[in-house]
């Protein structure tokens, strides 16, 4: 196996050092390492982070290979600095059996660009009626630990209670898409001043908060872990903060787009800004940024949701919700300043929220380790000084539905290493 010497890199933004990657691990660190026999990568000015881990990715395969495949999504992930992604279960067929999760897992291995960890559906067909074979998925080659009906809420409180309890047997976790469906029938965007002006049916914040409040109580009652997908409102932050203070085992994620964009963007009626949960108000954005810095929100997760052109180039109400996000996530987080300290990126905190914590929640032992001797060589190199203008045509994702077209964003992923091998070099995917 070839080895790589990353020269002059600042690990987590600290003093510069060299990193020698060999046999899938970080073999040596320190300034002025012997480069003989290794391919040298000049990393002057770059920051090394543990490879990013995305707890919430839609890879669309099987079923909507026109929008994304495991391979194209994996490439997008690698270009975004990710070394592991958790693939959501709302495929066609739904990932609600050992067969489907093993298929996705195997496709991920074959693509070899990131570690693809399948998420299993909580209920058969995401229908919210009866439990899928969670144990079979846990025992499969895919070793599923996260279960989610994402796209739909497990709205039935009795079923949610059972799911929370059942997965304790194999240290599973339920990731809830918190949306009380009766409060969001026909909903198109955040309910508020803008939805009133635009005549679009509102998605009220309380529809999310009511479910989160219920679920933290259920998790507390049965002593289980619960994870909140794409938390989007200031009220949800308060509920999670109180639950954590009581010792409830709840974790929460926020998407890059909910940290940056607001419901005002719907005024264009361009469905590229349609997403579920919807973009919220500026006050929500402020609360989410503070909660992420504080740790009430544990992680950033992309909710990368590729959609074919015809599903977005249409009337707002007929468009599918979702945005691609893997290739822009770190840049968007940097642009918000949410994880800055004294005006500069706090790389240690960024590593925590985008790599270590998501790896811990997902139980991905090979990920979320700072580059140090003996650690798995899953890492990414960032040029913090670079700026780039997002061009949808240049995305590696098969879909183009980025809300950031034409936006200049800070930071650029220069290289990504997966198990000691490069998946990205000079900002380009190696395969």
């Amino acid at each position: 196996m070839s080895s790589y010497l990353i020269r002059g890199v600042r690990v987590l933004g600290r003093e510069w050092t060299d990193l020698l990657l060999r046999d899938g691990v970080v073999a040596e660190t320190g300034p002025g390492l012997d480069p003989s026999g290794a391919q040298v990568i000049e990393a002057d000015g770059l920051v090394a982070l543990p490879g990013l881990v995305d707890l919430h990715t839609h890879l669309r395969e099987p079923g909507r290979e026109d929008a994304e495949t495991v391979e194209t999504g994996s490439r997008a992930a690698a270009l975004g600095g990710y070394t592991a992604v958790c693939a959501m279960a709302n495929t066609s067929p739904v990932a609600d059996t050992a067969g489907v999760v093993e298929q996705v897992w195997r496709l991920g291995r074959e693509a070899g660009l990131v570690d693809v960890q399948p998420i299993g559906a909580v209920t058969v067909g995401l229908a919210g009626e009866r439990l899928a074979e969670l144990g079979a998925m846990a025992a499969s080659a895919a070793a599923v630990r996260i279960f989610s009906d994402d796209g739909f809420c497990v709205a039935d409180p009795r079923l949610m209670r059972r799911a929370l309890e059942y997965v304790k047997a194999f240290d599973g976790i339920i990731a809830q898409h918190a949306e009380e469906p009766r409060l969001t029938e026909g909903a198109q965007m955040h309910e508020g001043e803008v939805s009133t002006r635009l005549g679009l049916t509102g998605w009220p914040a309380v529809a999310e908060e009511a479910i989160i409040a219920r679920d933290v109580l259920l998790a507390e009652h049965v002593g289980s872990r619960v994870h909140v997908c794409h938390l989007s409102t200031a009220g949800s932050v308060d509920i999670v903060r109180q639950a954590k203070a009581r010792g409830v085992r709840v974790t929460a994620e926020v998407t890059p787009h909910h940290l940056l964009l607001t419901d005002e963007l719907a005024a264009s009626y361009d469905p590229v800004f349609k997403v579920n949960p919807p973009l919220r108000t500026a006050a929500d954005v402020t609360a989410l940024r503070a909660a992420l810095a504080e740790g009430v929100i544990d992680i950033v997760a992309t909710d990368h949701a590729p959609h074919a052109v015809e599903d977005k180039e249409c009337e707002w109400a007929y468009a599918r919700p979702g945005m691609v996000g893997l290739e822009t996530a770190l840049s968007v987080v940097l642009s918000t300043g949410a994880l800055h300290r004294d005006g500069e990126p706090d790389w240690d905190l960024i590593a925590e929220r985008m790599s270590r914590a998501p790896a811990r929640i997902a139980g991905l032992a090979a990920h979320g380790h700072d580059p140090a001797p003996g650690a798995p060589a899953n890492l990414t190199l960032v040029d913090p000084a670079a700026r780039r203008v997002v061009d949808p045509g240049e995305l590696a994702s098969r879909s183009r539905n980025t809300p950031y077209a034409g936006t200049e964003l800070p930071g650029r992923i220069v290289a990504t290493f997966l198990h000691g091998r490069p998946t990205v070099l000079d900002g380009k995917a190696v395969k």
């Binding site: 001043e193 939805s195 009133t196 005549g199 049916t201 509102g202 009626y269 249409c314």
Partner: protein, 312 residues
Amino acid sequence: MIKHLLSGADLDAETATLILDTAAEMATLAGREVKKLPTLRGRTVVNLFYEDSTRTRISFEAAAKRLSADVINFSAKGSSVSKGESLKDTALTLQAMGADAVVIRHPASGAPHRLANWIDGSVVNAGDGTHEHPTQALLDAYTMRSRLGRLAGLHVAVVGDVLHSRVARSNVLLLSTLGAKVTLVGPPTLIPVDIATALAPGVQVSYDLDAVLPTADVVMMLRVQRERMADSYFPSAREYARRYGLDAPRMRRLAEHAIVMHPGPMNRGMEIAAEVADSPRSTIVEQVANGVSVRMAVLYLLLGGRGAGAAQ
């Protein structure tokens, strides 16, 4: 002049007044033996209707024809639209046909905004979902001005299902621009959130129709669909009519000069009693006639500024 008419917010006071003044000139045509002007000869106006609305379509059709435009009626029924053609593909087709203006009625809010991105011609919003219906607001303003002589300082009560009403949104925007004071009246379930700040400053909300009527110069009753009951917006048609319907005893609370409007089609006995709809205060038939004049003015002004001489 603006290029598209998508929202009441597209109109400043000057432009709106110009349209109303032009409509008054157009109205004088209606009394002539020959009702046609040659103004838009050789121009093509497409009526693109994704919802059944005979009255609005006929009104626009009459307006365009009286200006000598070529009119193409493109309805979702019996066209490629029902075979699943996208709005964008339809837009490209209309573009290739050289449509100078497209009048669009669509069940999805914002569809006219999307269409305006895809064609070079002017787009006129003839009602989009629960968003807006700006020519209805213009004809309502025209009707108020004709009956009451002014708009500035009028107190207009808009009553009923404001939440689902495109007529209400456009009226709030336009009337506020023209200096009228608007009070929205209805059960709290049918008043959209943050409405007082969402559309225009100074908009009032009331849940009590009887309290509003004595100071109103205009009462505009909105159509309330009976199926809203099934979704628990109100308990029954009878209770709705009792609390928010305009019947003869309520009409007597109005000032002597006050008028009663309705954009149609009416649910007699629900939001409006027959004796109110048929009373001298009612402007409902005038509104229909004024609709043609106002739509003539809109088409004339949107297209008139870009005549054959400035074709490049």
